[in-house]
């Protein structure tokens, strides 16, 4: 009798790379944080940049106000990058940089910082996110129009594949699509379509024999929600499709080059402000989605912290998340087995369903001319999916424990601490950074900088050249992030992505029925339709909330002015005045409300606009009180998930302010 084959692997698998998405304030403070994290057993770096760095502005720029060092570290030049990586061995480290519009620039700074440490580019390992289409669709840190942006991506890929061969020049992100409300099918279809758009663009800029290596260097950054069985199936479906695309569309023969490689940050969208300790369970289950099956296991994982819906996580919160990864990898038996779903009819069925659905949706994108041309379509579809998700939460069809069900709770000791359980960035950082960059400018060789920028401008205007060598030379000369980006803005022009809200379907009238009558009644009394300006001040690109508010307000019968992200206080005030709105709603999720909201209030006063202002975002209660003190009529946070209730408040605010009788 033959012995049954062992269900175990001959040797326990090596764990995935463990990272924490981290960085704040300046290079020095972030470097200290990185070294502490590495000492705790973290095995790779994941750099979070602040919004000015991500969108190409120096700390002194008007749009940078309130954002310097907030959601990540501020990096303006080679000196900053060198300090950020101080005492970290770059020939051994694997560094992931969440950077997109300015990816070519931050990669240049990284290469030059390594040069300073005598580490050759061939030895550098890591990833630049560098995926611009999802910035248009969801995350909002784009800087340039689609055409030139795709060229920058193609340039970095073409450059790294020969000069920095171990680098992953792009992480195609399905992550942010899910955050924007994508269904699993949409997540697969749009990220694969996006990858195809990138590969097609690179194909025109490299030797054809390099396409196999190019394909092999493309990696993905995915999301995993709490429906972890289906989420695991999604990853298997993505592996299958990636292999298929490599073989059939790009004739990649080496199966190793067709392997679906992905890193992951699990879902933030589903994390709640209510009973935030429950988020730990959600994160653990989501981590299973990306690790359970060996044939679709993540290469690198970073987990969010339990308090992300409250504010920025502290080092201790991040440590707690890292420990979860370590328990999963080192305590459990997860890494001892081959793929545990092989032969599972259920898993096979789920994968089949997803692949078929995704292929259909990809065909629709292809019909529109590919992912670049289909940005409007995809954006509108995402807004629509998110609206549907929200409707299901409001109606109770979708259970979110602690939020729309099982709401009663004991007071949480976790948020009782003096800091409210979150990290607060020292407001002095912004001024410090402005001075530091001024000092840097004063000390560098001005002629060399001018020459480097002239050359960069020339290359930018010549589509046949690669942007990387001129960018690296500019990094060496001491050029700043804002100068690099402005040079390209001058050459490429600026861009505003579609908001997607115009096309979103309306909710059925029985859901907003009474609300609609109230809007009609107040509009009638006002003599014209209630007009509502929804504004996103500053650099924060997280527009999901603002979009859903805008769509619901329309469904309730208001005229809604929504201009998308990245507006200065002066722009918002001008729009409010010119449009004659009755109420203004502002949304900020980056933590810069303390600086930006008062600035908008001041600009509104200057423009002579006297209407109620409401604010929504990730805003701790102590800050909310200060905002109300400053004149904000109401503050909403993620725990206010009942949009209709919010709309009713807004209508009565307008009625009150115009001395109309409330209902």
């Amino acid at each position: 009798m033959a012995e049954a084959p062992s269900p175990r692997l001959p040797e326990r698998d090596r764990p995935w790379m463990m990272r924490t998405y981290a960085g704040h304030s300046d290079a020095k403070r972030s470097n200290e944080l990185y070294r502490r994290n590495l000492a705790k057993g973290q095995t790779g770096l994941s750099i979070a940049f602040d919004l000015p760095t991500q969108t190409g502005y120096d700390p002194g720029h008007e749009l940078a106000r309130g954002e310097v060092g907030k959601v990540g570290v501020s990096i303006a030049h080679r000196g900053d990058m060198r300090e950020l990586l101080h005492d970290i061995p770059l020939d051994q480290m694997n560094t992931s940089m969440t950077i997109n519009a300015t990816a070519a620039w931050l990669l240049s700074l990284y290469i030059v910082a390594a040069e300073d440490e005598h580490v050759a580019p061939e030895k550098l390992q890591g990833t630049t996110q560098n995926d611009i289409l999802k910035e248009y669709l969801s995350r909002g840190t784009y800087a340039f129009p689609p055409g030139p942006s795709m060229r920058l991506i193609a340039d970095t890929i073409a450059y790294t594949v020969t000069h920095v061969p171990k680098w992953n020049p792009i992480n195609i992100c399905s992550y942010h699509l899910q955050e924007a409300g994508a269904t699993p099918v949409q997540e697969i279809a749009y990220s694969m379509s996006n990858a195809i758009a990138v590969l097609d663009a690179v194909r025109e800029r490299v030797d054809q024999e390099l396409m196999g290596s190019v394909f092999g260097r493309i990696s993905f950054f995915v999301n995993a929600g709490v429906r972890f069985v289906e989420e695991h199936a999604k990853l298997r479906a993505m592996s299958e499709m990636w292999d298929w695309i490599g073989r059939n569309r790009y004739n990649v023969e080496d199966p190793k080059q067709r392997r679906f490689r992905y890193g992951v940050q699990v879902n933030s969208l589903g994390l709640t402000e209510a009973q935030p300790e429950n988020n730990v369970y959600r994160i653990a289950l989501e981590a299973l989605a990306v690790t359970l099956g060996r044939s679709a296991r993540a290469r690198a994982i970073q987990l969010p912290a339990w308090n992300e819906a409250l504010g920025l996580p502290r080092p201790w919160d991040q440590q707690w998340s890292l420990r979860l990864q370590q328990i999963l990898a080192y305590e459990t038996d997860l890494l001892e087995y081959p793929d545990i779903f092989e032969g599972s009819k259920v898993m096979e069925g789920l994968v089949h369903e997803l692949v078929e659905g995704a292929k259909e949706e990809m065909a629709r994108v292809a019909e529109l001319g590919g992912a670049v041309e289909a940005v409007d379509y995809m954006k509108a579809s995402l807004v629509e999916s998110h609206r549907e998700r929200w409707r299901r939460i409001e109606s109770g069809e979708l259970t979110v424990v602690g939020m729309n069900r099982f709401e009663s709770t004991e007071p949480s000791p976790l948020t009782a601490a003096e800091d409210g359980g979150i990290l607060v960035v020292d407001p002095e950082v912004e001024r410090e950074r402005q001075e530091a960059v001024e000092a840097w400018r004063a000390e560098r060789d001005a002629d060399a900088v001018r020459r480097a920028l002239d050359e960069l401008a020339r290359v930018a205007r010549d589509d046949s050249e690669n942007i990387m060598p001129a960018s690296i030379a500019a990094a060496r000369a001491g050029v700043t992030t804002g100068e690099w980006a402005q040079t390209l803005r001058d050459a490429f022009g600026e861009y505003r992505a579609p908001t997607g809200v115009g096309e979103a379907a309306a909710v059925s009238s029985d859901e907003v029925g009474e609300l609609r009558e109230e809007v009609e009644r107040v509009s009638e009394a006002l003599g014209r339709r209630l007009k509502f300006l929804v504004g996103k001040p500053g650099l924060d690109g997280h527009s999901n909330g603002a979009e859903q508010i805008a769509v619901r307000a329309r469904d309730a019968g208001m005229d809604v002015v929504y201009e998308g992200i990245r507006l200065t206080p002066a722009q918002i005030a001008t729009s409010a005045a010119q449009e004659g709105v009755h109420v203004v709603g502002l949304s900020i999720l980056s933590g810069s409300h303390g600086e930006l909201i008062p600035a908008v209030l001041e600009a509104l006063r200057e423009a002579g606009v006297e209407v109620p202002v409401v604010v929504g975002g990730i805003i701790p209660e102590s800050d909310a009180a200060a905002l109300r003190e400053a004149g904000v009529a109401a503050v909403y946070t993620p725990k206010d998930w009942d949009l209709n209730g919010m709309m009713r408040d807004i209508v009565s605010l307008v009625a009150e302010r115009n001395s109309l009788a409330a209902a």
Binding site: V501, D559, T568, Q578, G580
Partner: protein, 321 residues
Amino acid sequence: MSEDLAARLRERDLSAAPAVLNLIETRTPAARAETAELLRALSPAALGAEAQGHVVGVTGPPGVGKSSLLSRMVAGWRARERSVAVLTVDPSSRRSGGSLLGDRARIDYDPADKQVFIRSTAAGERLGGLAPATRAAATALAVAFDVVVIETVGVGQSETEVAEVADSVAVVIQPGSGDVLQFLKAGIMEVPDVLVVTKADLGRIAQRAMADLRAALRSLGARDTAVVAVSSIAPPTGIDELLDALDAHRDEIDLRARRLLARRAHALADFAAEHGARGVRALGGRREVERRLAGCDPGLDVPALVRALEERASRQQSRES
């Protein structure tokens, strides 16, 4: 209040624009009486001449790049030191009564520049239709601003309606879309004052589209209609030619005659909005109303024209009863 606003507009105080629009859009009886008052105070009879501003209609099918073009046009006019008011009529039809107005986002302007004014309104019930207040707004703002742009979406109906209000109409199309060509040939669409072909950066395709349009215009006997190719992406091209073509058109037309027609169309639209299709039928139908308006004193302002129609209607009613 309306007297004050009228005075400010006559002194070319551009900061009056938001309040003017708030008033014109307000449908309470008091506000409507004030609007009528305002229009009277800004009528050619009161001003002693036609309002000096150039009322420009910009229209075309969705997705042809109208907003980015408009953005460049505004910059172009500002470079010529002209003040600009833009009235965008958003196509997002009034589902649920509400609407999403996003067009102003696509127009780049410096918020510190007080010579630019942008106001979004939702279209009426029809796609491409003007918002009810747009005619009055254009009339009033043309007193203070050098240029008043009315932007609408659509092909067929919309440019006819815009042509009733504007001194000059530019229809914007993109190369490769045959609709406009077909509409022109079939006579569904009237020949616009200026035809704009976007995406000139497409080179050969754009050239080809221009050639096709010119041929079509020739066969319609409209060989003098300006056709301009523009590109709104950096570096923009053709914008100055387009502004020149619009200026040339304005110089060439009989402004008084065109404005007179605009006032009559405005009066008819207001009368129809107030009294419905039945009210118009009771006066013998559109043609009859137009004929009747043409018979009125050309010096009358719009509220007076509407009143004339209403008096006629009530006389008729009393005869019938």
